[in-house]
């Protein structure tokens, strides 16, 4: 393979003719690539919606997107990853939200912000989120992926952010992980309700209300004073 060899030492510096404009990932190649990826995402969503998750084969999806099955698996590691293929954006938002909050903000407020960020994304991608939730409620492999991959990723973001706020190492101090665990449960609870209401109702309020219960934890454990 190309041994990243330095250019011929003799050759002229070759003053770049054009002043290297933005040239973001807008090359035709990458555009085509993300189009393929998008076609797969849409084809998958459409087929999952009409036929169900297990009932749709990866060959079907590839066919509907007019690419080979092999190409599908070059874009997505698993069939489940294809269903959740639009989640990187969410995780980015989450990370940015967490990073943007003031360091001295109370943890509870931070967690509320996390919830708002999630809720916001859910509202903006209602159809897809509802599809994902419905499939997760129906198909075991989907709920497993949701829990073990998607949610575990969110949880990691929260752990890191909380550990930061507390100024501790999450490997030494269990509190960030515990707080994140409680938060994830609040998220699951609220999301389940949102789902049951088919995406109607104020997701944010529901989720914040549920989170508020986290603050009651200590009180619960030491009842009747």
């Amino acid at each position: 393979m190309a041994e990243s060899a330095t250019p011929d030492p003799i050759a002229d510096p070759a003053p770049d003719p054009r002043p290297r404009l933005p040239q973001l990932d807008v090359s035709r190649r990458s555009r085509k690539k993300s189009k393929t990826r998008n076609d797969l995402l849409e084809a998958g969503a459409r087929l999952f919606e009409t036929d169900g998750f297990d009932e749709t084969t990866t060959a079907d999806i590839a066919e509907a997107a007019d690419v080979s099955q092999r190409t599908l698996f070059r874009h997505f590691e698993t069939k489940e990853a294809l269903l959740y293929g639009d989640m990187e954006e969410l995780q980015l938002e989450l990370r940015e939200t967490l990073a943007a909050r003031p360091a001295d903000e109370p943890i509870l407020d931070l967690l509320q912000e996390v919830m708002r960020s999630l809720a916001d994304n859910f509202e903006r991608n209602r159809a897809r989120r509802l599809l994902q939730a419905r499939l997760a409620a129906t198909y075991h492999s989907v709920s497993a992926y949701s829990r073990a991959v998607v949610q575990a990723n969110w949880e990691r973001e929260i752990i890191v952010a909380v550990a930061d706020r507390l100024g501790v190492d999450p490997l030494d101090d269990p509190r960030p992980e515990i707080i994140a665990g409680a938060t994830m449960s609040a998220i699951r609870f609220a999301t389940r309700r949102w789902t049951a209401g088919r995406g109607q109702g104020d997701y944010v309020d529901l989720i914040v209300e549920a989170l508020g219960a986290v603050g009651d934890l200590a009180g619960l454990e030491r009842p009747a004073a």
Copy 2:
């Protein structure tokens, strides 16, 4: 498209239906059956230990247990279920522990009891628990199963028990689920440490210490009084 959908990417079956645990029988038929099952369990553990999880095929395990591959899948739904095939006992212990505690016991004490029960089981099955933990740390499919199936089952038990104590419906009141989520995180934290120490050291103390941090939650969220 699909407005008619349901839920979001999170969706778990929701905390309610707890699976029924098996029971004993003494006929020759069932003795043979459980012997076969046990042979598979042991063969699997041995091969996983020496060769790794992905590196061991279900055909290998069936061969080592001297049964057909088809029989393996009659005893275990998946390869992962085979690795965790000794978990029903643990779940039974957990449920009994929870049921045995006085109803007016403080929640924190109840959770400590859960942890002790788990820790006890881990000590008594050290080799197998360590194997499971090690494989979960290495193989994605194993950690996914652990999270989405094994731990989700424990969590459900806790949710039901806590909801009972609080006299609430876990579908209406988010607190049981949140408390259970925090507890599960404490368990993961403690277990990770136990695993890192190769099963040495006082698992119980570690785990209880971690759980104690749950009680600090409220304090953390409302800092500077």
